[in-house]
Symmetry: C2
Subunit: 450 residues, 2 copies
């Protein structure tokens, strides 16, 4: 029976949990993929989830736990004893197990590890706990199939049989020498097609791309993407095989990175989701609002120097929003393209001056078009030559300068090791507001001979 996950079904599960109708839950979830059950659980509260989890087979429960978002999982596991957690952790891949243990407090973590009855698993977990979460070592799992260079195909098949339960998806069998140093790889396909008494050293492929355990996760992503790998072995500095990272984990990292950079660009400083608390969402937004506010107050202070000019020629004030908005738009557009280049990890050999020159050419072209349009419209609407000239000359300079700022700021931040996406949103906008106003009032002052 294939159950579709609809709002109605969620409501039925909710009711079934309330009246402790285990039969309904088991019969509808029996043929469901764990990832679909996870979707259902997201809609229930922590205690309801506990009831459902207790009904499901532990293998399914372990998959669901590995799948959950970490913030929901933390909340979720509060209702579980260390013994219950250990039962699931026993059945997980070591990388998922470590992720979960890292989210627990020290006491729970120690208790769970002590309760693991699979010794190989607990050794793997203890080893993995040493690595930072955002480096290759923190992404890898210990489960993999490795064979010795001197083995025969028969022994390799034996090894795969022995590990069959632990390593669900093999992708590649890694070949090591007697000192456990990674020397190559051999595919399951090759093993399947080779004669049983062939030696590994006669059929293996010595070209194997690996990554060192201390490398940053962004580097893992870019290497796996560049070489189209579905898994990558992790080695230590001596080249010893430590574990492997599979593409599903990397896909998750990619998505996190994309979301993070988008949030930074839109002025959100903490990673938040729509279902986080009101306080947390509010807190994630305040820093940029306050920076924007300080910028606005500085702008007011600055324009205050021209208060008499404005009283004399109030028309000048009317174009302030045009100037600040254009500066902001140009700045964000320019920074966007530089950030894309910087984040793509491309080996860019282009000269700094060449890049700036090109940015200026683009800006020049757009500045001419925009300022001619603005001059025309302003003159048509207001018939004031000097005002139209002031607005369009100022706009021309603002487009040029905002392009430069939007290009140079991310490059500088990147050189100083700051994520350049930080600069893309409100920061560039705020700086350009001030810059634009400065230019505008300077031009007005000059051309009106104030």
């Amino acid at each position: 029976m294939q159950v579709e996950i609809t709002r109605e079904y969620i409501a039925q599960v909710d009711e079934a949990v309330e009246r402790k109708d285990a039969a309904f839950i088991l019969s509808t979830m029996e043929d469901m993929h764990p990832a679909d059950i996870t979707t259902v659980l997201y809609e229930l509260d922590a205690e309801q989830c506990k009831y459902v989890m207790d009904l499901l087979p532990p293998e399914i429960g372990a998959e669901i736990l590995s799948d959950l978002d970490y913030d929901i999982r933390t909340n979720f596991l509060h209702n579980f004893t260390s013994k219950e957690i250990a039962r699931y952790v026993n059945l997980m891949d070591s990388d998922d197990a470590v992720d979960i243990l890292n989210e627990q407090n020290v006491q729970t973590r120690e208790e769970v590890i002590a309760l693991l009855d699979n010794e190989e698993k607990s050794a793997a977990i203890l080893d993995l706990l040493h690595y930072e979460e955002d480096c290759a070592g923190g992404l890898m799992a210990k489960e993999l199939i490795k064979v010795n260079l001197n083995w025969r195909v028969r022994q390799c098949i034996e090894e795969i049989r022995r590990q069959a339960e632990d390593v669900e998806r093999i992708f590649t069998v890694y070949v090591v020498d007697n000192r456990d140093k990674l020397v190559g790889r051999v595919s399951v396909k090759t093993l399947l097609l080779a004669k049983d008494d062939k030696l590994v050293q006669d059929i293996y492929n010595p070209d194997v791309i690996s990554i060192e355990s201390f490398k940053d996760e962004t580097e893992v992503v870019s290497v796996m993407q560049k070489y189209d790998l579905e898994s990558i072995p992790v080695v230590n500095i001596q080249g010893r095989l430590l574990g492997r990272i599979t593409i599903d984990d990397v896909v998750d990292v990619m998505q996190e990175q994309a979301e993070l950079s988008r949030q930074l660009m839109t002025g959100i400083t903490e990673s938040v989701e729509e279902d986080d608390s009101v306080f947390r969402i509010s807190r994630s937004r305040l820093p940029w609002l306050i920076i924007g506010m300080v910028g606005g107050l500085l702008a007011a202070q600055f324009m205050g120097f021209f208060e008499e000019d404005i009283a004399l020629l109030p028309a000048v004030a009317l174009f302030v929003p045009l100037i600040t908005a254009t500066g902001g738009n140009v700045g964000i557009q320019s920074s966007s393209i530089i950030i894309q280049t910087l984040s793509s990890n491309a080996v860019v050999f282009e000269n700094f001056m060449q890049r700036i020159f090109k940015v200026l050419l683009v800006a020049l072209l757009n500045a001419i078009i925009i300022s001619v349009l603005v001059f025309t419209f302003t003159y048509l609407f207001r018939h004031e030559f000097t005002l139209s000239l002031v607005v369009s000359v100022a706009l021309f300079s603002v487009v040029l300068l905002a392009s430069l700022m939007g290009t140079i700021t991310p490059m500088l931040l990147d050189r100083f090791g700051v994520n350049p996406a930080v600069a893309a949103g409100p920061f560039i906008t705020t700086a350009n507001d001030l810059l634009g106003l400065g230019i505008y009032f300077a031009v007005a002052h000059m051309l009106y001979n104030l």
Copy 2:
């Protein structure tokens, strides 16, 4: 010899090409991964690339061509005859082959297909050319291993041996019935561990997640990500197995999508990269600059109604940048979080009114904090009670209204089938500028009794 790709190495290759030093190029590129050679080729011009490609073995050349960005590849292939292109296409997976053929003009495409000497390949390509590029059918390759439910393991191994060259990475062997309908899967590992005379129907796994050929690429991405798949079979509406999509293609789609949505949010309307031409970059930016300009001119027109007020009370004009900037920042922050939820394809069962209520709570909290701060600073700096009150009351309303706008606009666009990211950047900012000014001058008018 492991050659590192540095600026110096690129310069050496450049020189070697000029003096036709095939020996240097071949010896340094011999042990290089094709993806690394691609990096080098990006730095050479089209004719230099042609010289290098002619030196390399065609298998390597085919991998490089599959790897190249499509805009660079188009330029690159101008120097190749149809016969030369056909030689590479013969060696490619059908999905990569179709991507390249789709980039050629009709004549070249027909010529290349006619020149293919691998009949199975040309049939696969002709079949794939029917699908839209951004649907599951357009992403899939025809190369896969399928076995019949009634076969024995021995026959499966024979089939794999037969296809060994065509299907480099198997991942999963698909199981079909006599009418070619997909009924399950079996891993190479299972085949390796099973006895030769076992029947497929006794060892296969009937749980297989597939996708229909007409489904959109965004759905392919979300299904593969949800179920952690490294490959997914594509079926037609009757469930017949047509092809498969592998994770490397999906990773590329994910990255394109992330870049596209980021560009939309930063007011860039065409997909551009830093190395595109000045005209193309300029053109990609103009639409939003012009919309922003129109917004700015409308703002000027609107403020024109209050020109006499401004002449009387120029201090009111000083806070215009504060009002517009805050409205813009709040609008972008709000839309960002909604777009994230919408694009995550999550089954969100939350009620529309509940979401709006929460958005308003967050906005209320931030509005109070910001307007109290602004009141305090303004009063401290200027000692004008009414002015401070006008600015802070207006700001309070702007934060509330901009939050609502920033939330509702993307939801409406999404409901009407428009990519909500379109609304996130300059559009929201421009609308909020006008909204903010309206509120500000209305409040000023009321509180000053103008």
